[in-house]
């Protein structure tokens, strides 16, 4: 067998002409190497710059959200927290979200379990019907729920009816997340537990639940956030109970209120970022992931 040309005596010592990859190849490599970073930067900027601008101007001593900077102030925060409407609206929205989130997690998980575990007639139809409300515009759901509560049931709208109406649109969200988590879960473990004599309830309680717990937490936090920020359903069904998004929307009518809404928006956004951070810690803590990359993979896997 002939040796490679480079190994022949004297060839290695010859001066080599520098070889260059063709331009398209270099471009492709550069795009591969830096494109991801650029894309990530643009993506994050699109997501967070508006929020950062909102936060920035909540400290500006002016009623407008534009430069020049008029000086640092905390007065909008003081006004917001001193406004009984803001306090009432935040309290009501927290109560509503605190009920909607766990309720949706329970109902959504109970809905996800049979559609991913059992074969039964009309399974596709059943899962489609449960998921359908997520595709209906929230205004429609809001008006329909109000008509149902007031005209059919003769109930007075309040935060109680908001809870019921919001649960209708939040359960499908949780169901989809939990169905994805349950689909990833290895069915053999369940079968092994069943072979060892565990009841279905025991299997769910001791085998499935611990495995999907991070997804439950993540979907609960998402449901909480959905509920807290929901305007359409809250507007139509809140009756005389003031809720946060309704307060923010109606208050923007007057320009002087803009920085106060900014301040409240900043506080709410900060709290929600904190919630997501909690979800991240909870989702990754039990996974054994060590590097940031591994943790993010676990987190995205659990949430998605």
């Amino acid at each position: 067998m002939r040796p490679p040309l480079e190994d022949l005596p004297g060839v290695a010592a010859l001066p080599r002409e520098r070889t260059r990859r063709p331009l398209p190849g270099r471009l492709s490599r550069a795009v591969t190497r830096h494109g991801g970073v650029v894309f990530a930067f643009v993506f994050v900027a699109l997501l967070y710059v508006p929020l950062l601008v909102l936060a920035l101007f909540s400290f500006n001593d002016s009623i407008v959200c534009s430069f020049p900077w008029r000086g640092f102030t905390l007065k909008w925060y003081a006004e917001a927290l001193g406004d009984e409407n803001v306090v009432t609206a935040i309290r009501n929205s927290l109560v509503v979200a605190a009920v909607v989130a766990p309720l949706s997690v329970v109902l959504g998980t109970l809905a996800a379990y049979p559609v991913t575990r059992f074969d039964f007639r009309f399974r596709g139809l059943a899962s489609g019907l449960i998921a359908a409300p997520i595709a209906v515009p929230w205004e429609i759901t809001g008006v329909a729920a109000l008509i149902y509560f007031v005209r059919i049931l003769h109930w007075t709208p309040s935060w109680g009816t908001v809870i019921l109406a919001q649960t209708v649109v939040t359960v499908p969200l949780v169901m989809l997340i939990m169905a994805a988590a349950l689909a990833r879960f290895r069915k053999e473990l369940e079968e092994a537990a069943r072979d060892l004599g565990a009841s279905r309830l025991q299997v769910f309680r001791h085998v499935i639940l611990p495995q999907v717990a991070p997804s439950l937490v993540a979907s609960g936090l998402l449901a909480f956030s959905w509920s807290f920020n929901n305007f359409e359903i809250s507007f139509f069904n809140g009756g005389f109970d003031l809720l946060m998004p309704v307060w923010a929307y109606s208050t923007l009518r007057h320009a002087v209120n803009l920085p106060i809404v900014n301040a409240v928006g900043t506080l709410v956004s900060a709290a929600e970022v904190l919630l997501i951070a909690c979800a991240y810690v909870i989702a990754t803590s039990r996974s054994g992931a060590r590097t940031a990359k591994e943790k993010m993979e676990v987190f995205m896997g659990e949430v998605g």
Partner: protein, 369 residues
């Protein structure tokens, strides 16, 4: 025997006394009496559906102080259409706050959501500036009153004198290509289409036939095609932000928009258009489903009182309906508010209920293209 007769007599007296007391009580809390209620006799709950203004604790606070036994509950909306949508879905309330220029308020009357107001129970009814009595809902063709007016304002042109050298005096100035990309229009079909019609020279801007509506649509579509309007805005915050940042130099707006911008150091003025000054006016109606008429009348009296009107004038810069307010406002406000006495020939900024669907469709088409 005597004791039995005595017992019967006492029982009869007790029944008569109870009936008299009961009748007196009914007279005090009855719904048809002409007199206004004294605070101590009004109790229960009053439910208000209205603009965010009514939720302002300083505004409603005066009523709560006067009527500590009345529980006030408020549901706020951002425009009349939202409020009407809630009513049509079955929402119930006692008092509704809205503007008569919004077709929604007049449609609500047509749909039976309002009840006539007994103006003999409105203490300051005779103190209202004349122009307000002529407004829809305030006095209807059948002679009934469905709204107690409390506030008003005029809509005109807000402009930055640094960039707009010639004082605008026509709605057509908003469509001037010199201000391409730096003009602003309201995202409210009733106002936008009326302004378009006035800019085109149509005299009866509230009753437009199909051909005139088509011309208005063409005006807006051409303006959109050349990028005339920076955006269509829906609340004060937007016009203040856009004009302060310099992105917009001319736009449709209110006098207090110009005042706020001047406070921020911008050379901004307010001008009226020669084709017609648009008037908006608002107030309070009593819902057909009202459950506490006494509290509703007490509330209407409060909102029309100089005390509440003073807050409207000084806090929001509105014109007010009660002329007695001039005695209690700051001197700087007095001259401005007195202008309402002279208002005679202002055009109400709102189309008739019939045919308004065509206006909405037209505006949606303009926005879509």
């Amino acid at each position: 025997m005597w004791s039995q007769t005595l017992r019967r007599a006492v029982a009869l007296l007790a029944v008569v006394a109870a009936a008299v007391v009961g009748a007196a009580a009914c007279g005090e809390s009855g719904t048809g009496g002409g007199a206004t209620q004294s605070p101590g006799t009004v109790t229960g709950e009053v439910r208000i559906l209205g603009y965010e203004d009514v939720t302002n604790p300083k505004y409603i606070g005066g009523f709560k102080e006067q009527y500590p036994d009345v529980k006030v509950r408020i549901s706020a909306y951002e425009d009349g259409d939202q409020g009407l949508a809630k009513l049509r879905a079955g929402f119930q309330c006692d008092v509704i706050n809205w503007c008569v220029d919004e077709p929604a308020s007049r449609l609500a009357l047509k749909l039976g959501y309002l009840q006539p107001i007994d103006v003999s129970r409105i203490r300051d009814w005779d103190r209202i500036f004349p122009v307000f009595y002529k407004l829809p809902l305030v006095t209807e063709a059948d002679g009934n009153h469905y709204l107690v007016p409390t506030e008003a304002g005029i809509t005109g042109i807000v402009y930055n004198t640094r960039y707009v050298k010639e004082k605008p005096d026509s709605w057509a100035d908003l469509f001037d290509p010199r201000y391409r990309g730096k003009a602003l229009m309201m995202d409210f079909p009733a106002t936008a289409i009326q302004v378009g019609a006035l800019a085109l020279g149509f005299k009866d801007s509230l009753n437009l036939d199909a051909q005139q509506l088509e011309a208005v649509k063409r005006l807006y579509l051409d303006a959109k095609a050349r990028g005339q309007f920076r955006t269509f805005y829906s609340n004060d915050s937007e016009i203040i932000d856009l004009m302060h940042s310099g992105e917009v130099v001319i736009g449709i707006g209110y006098p207090d928009n110009a005042e706020r911008l001047r406070e921020l150091g911008d050379p901004v003025e307010f001008a009226t258009a020669k084709e017609g000054v648009l008037l908006w006016a608002g107030g309070y109606s009593i819902s057909a489903s009202c459950r506490n008429l006494d509290a509703a009348y007490a509330l209407l009296n409060y909102y029309l009182s100089p005390e509440a009107e003073k807050f409207e004038a000084e806090h929001w810069g509105y014109y007010v309906a009660n002329r007695d307010t001039l005695d209690v406002v700051r001197a700087a406000e007095r001259e401005r508010l007195a202008e309402a006495e002279k208002w005679q020939n202002l055009a109400l900024a709102g189309p008739p209920v019939e045919g308004y669907d065509a206006w909405i469709r037209l505006w949606q088409e303009v926005k879509r293209q």
